[in-house]
Symmetry: C2
Subunit: 352 residues, 2 copies
């Protein structure tokens, strides 16, 4: 076993603290990665604080991982020591069901193995995530990161990036598409960048007039203040597709009304309390759909990373030391981050 | 003008009663139809009783019309006197917008003209529907009815039939599809027949165990009692598609959970009070969609009618005289009809 160090939550209300644990020795198909950066996702906070059911303590969060290959198993031919690589929200899946066969491991019918807080078939414990010095992952779940990408700013691509990329591609957003993005946060800012780079006309919807300049700078063509009922009504039947990144409960009907016939709105945020129930007439009058989407498969994550390298796309990030994680969580709760915190793992050695 | 006779509601709480009015003389592209039968749709009741906003009195309901051509305009070359024809929920649309160009007049961007209670551009009043001796309709909105079809039993195809056919076809239900039908009423019984004839494996969901034998006889392969939580859970991730015909508010989550990855549930009933809000996790975990659908376009209505003639499909009907319409409404409210009332318009002359 490999002794390592991470930061863990030990209970729902304790601050995160240094935590010594072990990683498995790399098996034949494994890759051992020295973690350089790890992005901070809202899921980390929800899990660390038991806001979702099922947290096992100690819990080491983190699933937006960028690192350097430190060792490879004998059959892990896809990688070599020194490569910059990424690990996202999954580290395993059954590899046998229809979803795995379709490259959509996130929908694995036997349940994919999350990068943290999932049953770990190697240890019989739970998986520990990227708030740590290193990680050992089967090569199938390791992504190649182009040296054109800044590694710190690339980290959030592994969750915020793929979570927006996957539905944009699935619903065929491209040149000529008119696309709405609801909410300008970690996911929303990636959705703007990606939809813009795919050639779409992008309309950002936000409740905050102060975000307008940022949205335009990120690639939005228009910004609509979604509290302005007249502005919303004026846009009825104008968009082909909407990606809604807002997890707080809100009225979906004004957005549904903005879709053209056969338009689709994908929800990528799951509210703790339900949204007000959408009016069925809004769906019927225009054959509109409301759908959901969960992160993305490994093949499409690699496709997204390569697209980002080609188009010079990364996340807007604020790099923090590991020791500031609780402060970062508090600031995330106030949306006080532009637009993603990323932990510099070099800072971790100071906690040892 | 042509003097005619119908049955009209004169207020929200008055029984329907004989009503004398006029139809326009057929213009060059019009067809004058002697109405033989008219199906009774829930929409008729909602409109007659002002349960939906906007009823203009007197109101002559009826949009499942079968009749015989009595006269044709000089340019109405598609029809000749004596032909058996149908008229459904629409009698006009702009014919210029993208939806009309796509043969989806029901989604006309300028608003289609409903067969009753819609602004009538010929009279500047409102349209009067099929509870009447005759009707004059532009040939574009007149359907051909095969002589293989029983005319009384074919009437409900014009609304209940096309409302289920259109989404089944749009979502590509066919051989090998596993399809759920929620609710066994006027729409549900047509959905079973059509999905079965399209080659799908059909699972009917009902709250009423007493409907099981009927559902199987109509073409369902399986019947699930939707109140049985264990039976519902056992079917998680098994269906490609669900058509939900129930307009009463109900929990959608157990049905969403029964869809496979990328499965779609179409709502064709709009509840007066909203459904409980669906759990977004159910949509996200499997990229499932909830969508709506409104009747169908003229071309696909003709396609459905031809398919029904080829496969010997009609509605199960109970034929009533016009004078029994209020009693029929009361029985509909108790679901006491197998499965659609159809008015025999010969009875109307007795009211003159």
């Amino acid at each position: 076993m490999i002794d390592t160090l991470g930061y863990a939550a030990t209970s729902a209300d304790a601050p995160l603290a240094p935590f010594s644990f072990t990683r498995r020795e790399p098996g034949p198909t494994d890759v051992r990665i020295d973690i350089m950066y790890c992005g901070v996702c809202h899921s980390d906070l929800h899990t660390a604080r038991s806001e979702w059911p099922g947290t096992v303590y100690p819990c080491v969060p983190g699933h937006e991982i960028i690192g350097r290959v430190a060792a490879t198993g004998t059959k892990a031919k896809g990688f070599k020591v020194g490569d910059v690589v990424g690990v996202g929200c999954m580290v395993d899946s059954c590899q046998q069901c229809a979803s795995c066969a379709d490259g959509l491991e996130q929908y694995c019918e036997r349940g994919m193995t999350g990068t943290y807080n999932s049953p770990d078939k190697h240890t019989n414990g739970v998986t520990y995530g990227g708030y740590s010095k290193d990680i050992v992952v089967d090569q199938k779940f390791v992504l190649r990161i182009s040296d054109k990408l800044d590694p710190a700013a690339a980290a959030p691509l592994l969750c915020a990036g793929i979570t927006t990329w996957s539905p944009l591609r699935h619903w065929k957003v491209g040149k000529g598409s008119k696309v709405g993005v609801v909410g300008l946060g970690g996911l929303g800012h990636m959705a703007i960048k990606l939809a813009h780079a795919l050639g779409a006309h992008v309309v950002l919807f936000t409740t905050s007039p102060s975000k307008k300049a940022d949205a335009l700078a990120l690639g939005a063509d228009e910004v609509v203040i979604s509290k302005d009922a007249d502005a919303m009504t004026a846009r009825a039947n104008t968009l082909d597709y909407i990606i809604n990144t807002v997890a707080a409960p809100h009225n979906l009907d004004p957005f549904i009304a903005i879709l053209k016939r056969d338009g689709v709105m994908t929800l990528v945020g799951a509210p703790a309390e339900p949204h007000p129930s959408p009016n069925v007439f809004g769906l019927i009058m225009g054959r509109r759909s409301v759908t959901g989407s969960l992160i993305g498969g490994i093949a499409e994550t690699q496709e997204m990373l390569d697209f980002c390298a080609e188009h010079g796309i990364t996340s807007e990030v604020e790099v923090i030391p590991m020791q500031k994680i609780d402060e970062a969580y508090e600031r995330m709760l106030k949306s006080d981050v532009k637009y993603r915190f990323v932990i510099d793992m070099k800072s971790l050695s100071k906690s040892a």
